[in-house]
Point group: C2
Chain length 200, copies 2
DNA sequence: CTTAACTTGGACACTGTTGTCCAAATTAAT
DNA sequence: ATTAATTTGGACAACAGTGTCCAAGTTAAG
């Protein structure tokens, strides 16, 4: 991205970080905050915000870029290509589903405001993690193949999203969510077998 | 609602109908059209629109009311309380899932613009249909009970919504959607020995 | 055909948002 | 302690949306 670091002062660095942090949060909540709201939440004047991000578009772009990096790191650390696919999936859901959901919402917001063109450049390696995991599960005979991969991925995210909505609305407790989600997602993806051995 | 019919002229009646029709469509698509857009799409001047609906809020209110009536009629005609719950559910999904989804989006839009207070008066008898159907399925031992009813209802709608999004985006063909949906929803709701709670 | 209802076209005030600009104050770095 | 980067406070223009108003034109209904 930038080979030339313009030697920024520490307070500028701090403000930029704060702005991206709160903006990620606000946009990730599915809202569409004004620049004034972002600036206010970051404890900064509007002029400062515009000093760092010349336009709303560039702000969103920066937020997306940051989120991709962060999400990708998290998912990579989860080593989703290890262990049987259903085990890896459970690990993913139990520990990181809010991250996945936030990234999804951010992406939706960005899609609405930037259009699909500007978003395509960020070639979604984040979403690819899940894609590959589910495909692996299918290949290994753990996940169902009577429904197309794309559709399975879609429903997976749909359920995550629903859980996040319910949690936000306080209709399910954050502590109950992982269990609910894990069971739902696994029973959605795994092969139907009525002959399950009882070992757990 | 209205015991006093104000003796409207025929063209006014026509315009009101057109406005509600296009507004339902625009809001039901998940967009948030301006009054000008609604008026334009209805083939009417803004002044006329405001003549019938004094404010944006009242327009949305009218659209919601209309949608509830229409949706409720459709669902009632489906006689969801007849046949085994899974059969009734398949009937519902195969024939009327777009209606259900449109109503959901409308409700979301209204929630965002009117707030939850003004929306509570429309006491959601529409959503109740599905609620009762799934409960009946649980009571009859056809649907799983290892997940709470509310959560099952939520995921049901989440999957419908996802299908609608995919269809809108052209990623699944409208002809393939009912099959995909039916299979997904049924395998999500129906009982399987796999999902029995570990202990107890 | 006449009246009353309705629509039109356009103007207007008001609000919220984006984006720009600048002089003065503050703060980090050397 | 000096310099240069950065923030501040506020003003400003431009634009889009809501809601109001009205005089003149059109249309349905008796």
């Amino acid at each position: 991205m930038s080979s030339v670091e313009p030697r920024r002062r520490a307070d500028a660095e701090r403000n930029i970080a704060a702005i991206i942090r709160v903006a990620s949060d606000l946009f990730g909540r599915g809202q569409s905050p004004s620049m004034a709201e972002v600036a206010g939440a970051a404890g900064v004047r509007r002029a400062t915000l515009y000093g760092h991000f010349p336009s709303r578009e560039e702000l969103i772009d920066a937020v997306i870029t940051h989120a991709i990096t962060h999400t990708d790191e998290t998912l990579t650390a989860l080593a989703l290509d290890r262990d049987p696919a259903d085990v890896a999936l459970e690990r993913l859901v139990r520990t990181s589903w809010p991250i996945l959901d936030r990234f999804r919402r951010l992406r939706t917001a960005a899609l609405a405001e930037l259009g699909s063109e500007r978003l395509r450049r960020h070639h979604d390696r984040t979403l690819h993690h899940v894609d590959q995991l589910i495909r692996r599960g299918q290949d290994d005979g753990l996940f169902r193949t009577d429904l197309p991969l794309d559709w399975l991925v879609t429903t997976f995210y749909a359920v995550l999203h629903a859980a996040a909505d319910e949690a936000d609305a306080g209709r399910i407790s954050p502590s109950a969510a992982p269990d609910l989600l894990t069971r739902t997602v696994l029973s959605l993806l795994t092969l139907r077998r009525d002959d399950l051995p009882e070992d757990t």
